[in-house]
């Protein structure tokens, strides 16, 4: 939190992500930031949200701050159902039933493809080789990207993360763009927004290339362009995102009891 802003960039990102979640939806959240954004939405404007984790923990709300994992006791303490990965990611997500998911990214490209597997020195090449820096792998994000009706990508806006083409597609966005997803018959529709620490990107209806849709009050079009590794188009309707309201901040900070979003 800077001296001039009453909220952090991470908090703005979480609130902007939460605003994408509508009341009554069936939603799946990953661990960390996405869980805070999702449960913020539930606390603030989506009381009838049906939230689940990929572990098969249903009907619960975190207690005592950010859970250490999606099966942590902080979220297992008030569940209405414990099932399984097969049930949550298969019957409810892979099947196409889930309305919205939130995933993170180490790298994201202009078609919303996500890499969470590794960082290589250059291209992988024809023969697979281990990454220079190994990351966390696909986890449930690939299943959410394939199956959820839509999904949101949360990622820190840095040039090294926003690349023309990800080195490794861990979770598919729109692949090469256009209707490329149709080749695989995915149940889900693809990413509806990339919410960053500077603004919000949305896909063009035809090409599916992500464009700058909105910037946060503390950022600017120039800052976002300078921190994007592809030649980012700016939507003719680009606008500034409304700042968090007092109520939004209060709800977010109640969910984020341990202040995970306020450490920068």
């Amino acid at each position: 939190m800077s001296a001039t802003s009453p909220y952090t960039r991470q908090e703005m990102m979480a609130i902007a992500t939460g605003r994408e979640i509508r009341d009554g939806e069936l939603a799946i959240f990953g661990v960390g930031l996405s869980m805070l954004a999702g449960f913020f939405a539930q606390a603030h404007h989506a009381p009838n949200l049906r939230a689940m984790t990929e572990g098969g923990v249903y009907g619960s709300t975190p207690v005592g701050g950010l859970p250490w994992g999606i099966e942590c006791n902080r979220i297992s303490t008030n569940a209405t159902s414990f099932t399984s990965g097969l049930d949550a990611l298969g019957c409810l997500v892979g099947s196409g039933r889930c309305d919205v998911g939130i995933i993170g990214a180490a790298q994201v490209d202009k078609y919303g493809n996500v890499n969470t597997t590794g960082i290589w020195d250059g291209e992988i090449g024809d023969a697979y080789r281990a990454p220079k820096t190994r990351l966390t792998g696909a986890g449930g994000a690939n299943d959410i990207a394939c199956g959820a009706k839509r999904f949101l990508i949360m990622v820190a806006h840095e040039r090294k993360r926003f690349v023309e083409k990800v080195t490794y597609v861990s979770s598919p966005g729109y692949l090469e763009g256009g209707n490329a997803r149709a080749r695989y018959g995915f149940a889900g529709g693809g990413p509806s927004a990339i919410v960053t620490t500077m603004g919000v990107l949305r896909p063009d209806a035809e090409t599916k290339e992500f464009q700058l849709d909105a910037w946060f009050a503390f950022s600017s079009i120039e800052e976002i362009l300078a921190n994007t590794g592809w030649s980012l188009k700016v939507s003719p309707h680009a606008h500034v995102v409304p700042e968090p309201t007092a109520a939004e901040l209060a709800h977010l900070r109640k969910v984020d009891e341990t202040g995970a979003l306020r450490r920068q």
Binding site: E71, N73, D126, C146
Partner: protein
């Protein structure tokens, strides 16, 4: 009635594990339930060249990989959730000491289900169209790889889908909250993929935080998702998932999660960790002493403790378990 299957941890590892085997962990993601103590015993008995089947990485795989005991792994998620990257696994993958084949968190239980049902393959509508399909660490020369997730035609719609290879691990060490002496098991918290795994694995060792009387099982048969029919042995080991959590029993040990992962980042740190926390106990009591009785009391004060209430009256005392275990080991 069949005889009890209670075995000591050391005896279970001696009987059911060997070098080069396909070893699966029955866990509930990286922070939760996992028989981490089974991995410690594999190291105590110097098992090596393991092919690890871990739906998700946990501190167990982090340790096995960090020490160099696992040389192959198949996983969905390979981090430690909010505790960050798994340093032991990461070091092993980056150095090439361990070959890691990537899948997603739905692919792994589907593959186990395929093994459990003895299916030839499992249709895949996820993982296709991404590098999870096109890249294979086990067949690095194939690009796009099709020996990992094959492309097949849906006989009904005619469209192209994927085919997952089923899994039938040689051994699964499955962590549960409660088991009776025969292995009928109750899990508090998410099952994750322990049900599919218990039917897919060729051998199953249950590692339970507490042993309950058979009357408990008869009171809650609907909750017994792993029946004794698929269980070969039962190990009683309190705080078996430490430093991870076990809903109803104990919370995650945040300090040790960080310290352990910090140690596994280097060879020297790993050596020290093994000396202190793998070789540093003789039995259950000295294991609990090693963690520290004060710390155990604190971890046991979980907000989830109420989940255990309906079962408490059936939890068997350690002395009785020891007696049954001694009988079982001599037969």
């Amino acid at each position: 009635m069949p005889p009890p299957k209670l075995l000591s941890l050391a005896e279970a590892v001696r009987r059911y594990s060997w070098d080069g085997m396909q070893y699966a962990s029955g866990a509930a993601l990286p922070i939760g339930s996992d028989a981490v103590v089974f991995g410690r015993e594999l190291l105590r008995q110097k098992r090596k060249n393991l092919h690890a089947i871990f739906h998700c990485n946990s501190q167990q795989l982090n340790l096995l990989a960090g020490v160099g005991a696992a040389t192959k792994a198949e996983c969905g998620f390979t981090g430690l959730e909010v505790f960050g990257f798994a340093n032991g696994l990461r070091r092993a993958v980056e150095s090439g000491e361990l070959v890691l084949e990537d899948y997603s968190n739905l692919a792994m239980p589907l593959r186990l289900l395929g093994g459990a049902l003895n299916w030839p393959f499992v249709p895949a509508t996820v993982n296709i169209g991404s590098d999870l399909q096109d890249r294979s660490a086990f067949a690095p020369g194939e690009f796009p790889a099709r020996s990992k997730i094959a492309t097949i035609t849906d006989p009904f719609s005619g469209r192209q889908i994927g085919a997952f290879r089923p899994l039938k691990p040689d051994l699964a060490a499955i962590h549960v909250t409660l088991a009776d002496p025969l292995g009928n098991s109750i899990m508090l918290g998410t099952e994750w993929s322990r049900v599919e795994l218990s039917r897919a694995a060729k051998r199953v060792v249950i590692v339970a935080d507490a042993i309950v009387d058979a009357a408990c099982i008869r009171q809650f048969p609907n909750l017994v998702r792993i029946p004794e029919i698929v269980v070969d042995a039962v190990v009683y080991w309190p705080f078996a998932a430490w430093p991870q959590s076990s809903p109803g029993m104990y919370d995650v040990d945040e300090e040790h999660m960080r310290a352990m992962n910090g140690a596994l980042a280097t060879c020297d740190g790993t050596r020290d960790y093994v000396r202190t926390f793998v070789e540093g106990y003789r039995d259950v009591e000295s294991y609990l002493d090693m963690i520290g009785r004060d710390r155990l009391a604190l971890l046991g004060k979980s907000r989830t403790a109420f989940l255990l209430d309906p079962y408490r009256k059936w939890i068997m005392p350690a002395a009785e378990i020891a007696r049954m275990q001694a009988d079982a080991e001599t037969t």
